[in-house]
């Protein structure tokens, strides 16, 4: 038993020596981080009919993007009026490369919730069933889309009730809000990617834009969000955007250290342990 314990001690020591350089290899590499801006579009033209967002399908200066779904009913999934279908819109694409391979997940996928009553964009009653629809749609139009989980996006989380695999539009809009643009920083790692919000721009019809940083957004209350989102002509604040890229990179890098220790260190530990045991068995003449 003592020999096994001492062997494990050596294994752990070797694993730490092996994994520590890997874990710190990419620490704070500013050139890995990109600023990417995507646009969350929604249009006011049909808002008067509904309680929730309606997404525009018109062209804009951002180039190719998936068009949005149809109007959604006044009661989300309830009553006699059912939701038809709706989707997120993303414009552009994020050229993420992991291990020399373009990350298909990030550059070719969209997160949606699609419940279709009638035809153009056939879906099903099951949330997330429409991913195939979007992919086909994307292929038809040669568009690319991205998938982003908004767990770190307090603004979008407030604006759109986010589920684990789709989005639900059930918050009413004010009359003036046209667009929310979220600027993010992206950092790629061997195992995964990290997208962190940096700033938000709220654009209103006939009103000055409001720009807040991600840090400011974290301190905002629900009432603050309501003031930004349900704007009917009153803008509460305007701030200059501060791209805290270096802070984002540092915080991302520190988290990734632990991730690397687990995903690299554990297999190394296991493999080395097995090798040592095998060698010991051979010596003992198994």
């Amino acid at each position: 038993m003592n020999s096994i314990v001492s062997s494990m001690g050596y294994i752990l020591y070797l694993a730490c020596i092996f994994t520590t350089p890997i874990a710190y290899a990419n620490h704070d590499h500013m050139d890995d981080v990109e600023d990417y801006e995507y646009v969350l579009r929604f249009d006011q033209k049909d808002l008067s009919k509904f309680d929730s967002f309606v997404i525009d399908d018109g062209g804009d200066e951002y180039g190719e993007y998936l068009i949005f779904g149809k109007n959604i009913g006044s009661k989300r999934g309830g009553g006699s009026e059912k939701i038809e279908d709706f989707r997120f819109e993303y414009s552009g694409d994020i050229p993420i490369v992991i291990w020399g391979i373009p990350n298909v997940e990030l550059t070719n996928k969209v997160s949606i919730w699609c419940k279709s009553k009638v035809g153009d964009y056939a879906g099903s009653d099951t949330p997330c069933a429409g991913v195939g629809v979007i992919k086909a749609f994307g292929e038809d139009f040669g568009k690319l889309a991205i998938q982003i989980k908004y767990s770190r996006s307090p603004v979008l989380k407030e604006v759109l009730e986010i589920s684990s695999c789709g989005v639900h539009f059930n918050k009413p809009t004010g009359g003036a809000l046209k667009r929310i643009t979220e600027t993010v920083a992206i950092k790629t790692f061997e195992i995964n990617n990290q997208i962190v919000p940096v700033s938000y721009r709220f654009e209103y019809a006939g009103l000055p834009d409001v720009i807040i940083t991600a840090e400011q957004a974290l301190t905002m209350t629900k009432a603050d969000f309501k003031n930004l989102i349900y704007v009917d002509g009153v803008v509460t604040s305007k701030n200059e955007v501060v791209t805290s890229k270096s802070e984002v990179v540092t915080s991302i890098s520190e988290e990734q250290t632990l991730i690397r220790l687990w995903f690299y260190g554990l297999p190394v530990l296991g493999a080395v342990g097995l090798v040592i045991l095998y060698i010991r068995e051979r010596r003992n003449g198994k």
Binding site: M1, I4, I98, E105, L106, C128, V131, Q147, I148, K149, S151, R152, C165, I191, N192, N193, Q194, I195, I252, E255, Q256, L258, I259, W262, F263, Y264, L266, P267, L269, G270, A271, G273, L274, L277, Y278, E281
Partner: protein, 118 residues
């Protein structure tokens, strides 16, 4: 794309389920695994295979494709583990294969239950 902490949390949860489910099956059903050394080997094997399996499945078979990934990767994992049991333990290879298959099937089933209930 999930945050890093979410992914680590998911990996830890998955690893814990694997260790508990597979360990229970092996210890309860196979006398060869009722020794400290056998348990240690079981742990080392899973420390080696599980993170690789998790990252590979998560990266190349995300979201709605995870079952495809599991179907492709689980047999590889079960063969590797069966091989390791044959090498390190006093167990014949047919029994090692059966034990590994049963253990991995159990852990996969346990992992599937939450998904099916959603």
């Amino acid at each position: 794309m999930e945050s890093s902490w979410y992914m680590l949390h998911a990996a830890l949860e998955s690893f814990a389920i694997t260790i508990c489910a597979e360990g229970a099956v092996l210890v309860l059903l196979f006398s060869e695994f009722r020794r400290i050394k056998s348990i240690l080997i079981f742990l080392l094997i899973n420390m080696f295979t599980h993170p690789i399996y998790f990252v590979t499945r998560h990266h190349f078979f995300p979201h709605e494709h995870w079952l495809t990934g599991a179907a492709l990767l689980e047999p590889i994992v079960f063969v590797i583990e069966a091989l390791a049991y044959t090498v390190f333990l006093p167990i014949k290879w047919p029994k090692a294969i059966f034990a590994s298959f049963l253990a991995n099937a159990t852990s996969l089933a346990v992992g599937l239950v939450p998904s099916l209930m959603l």
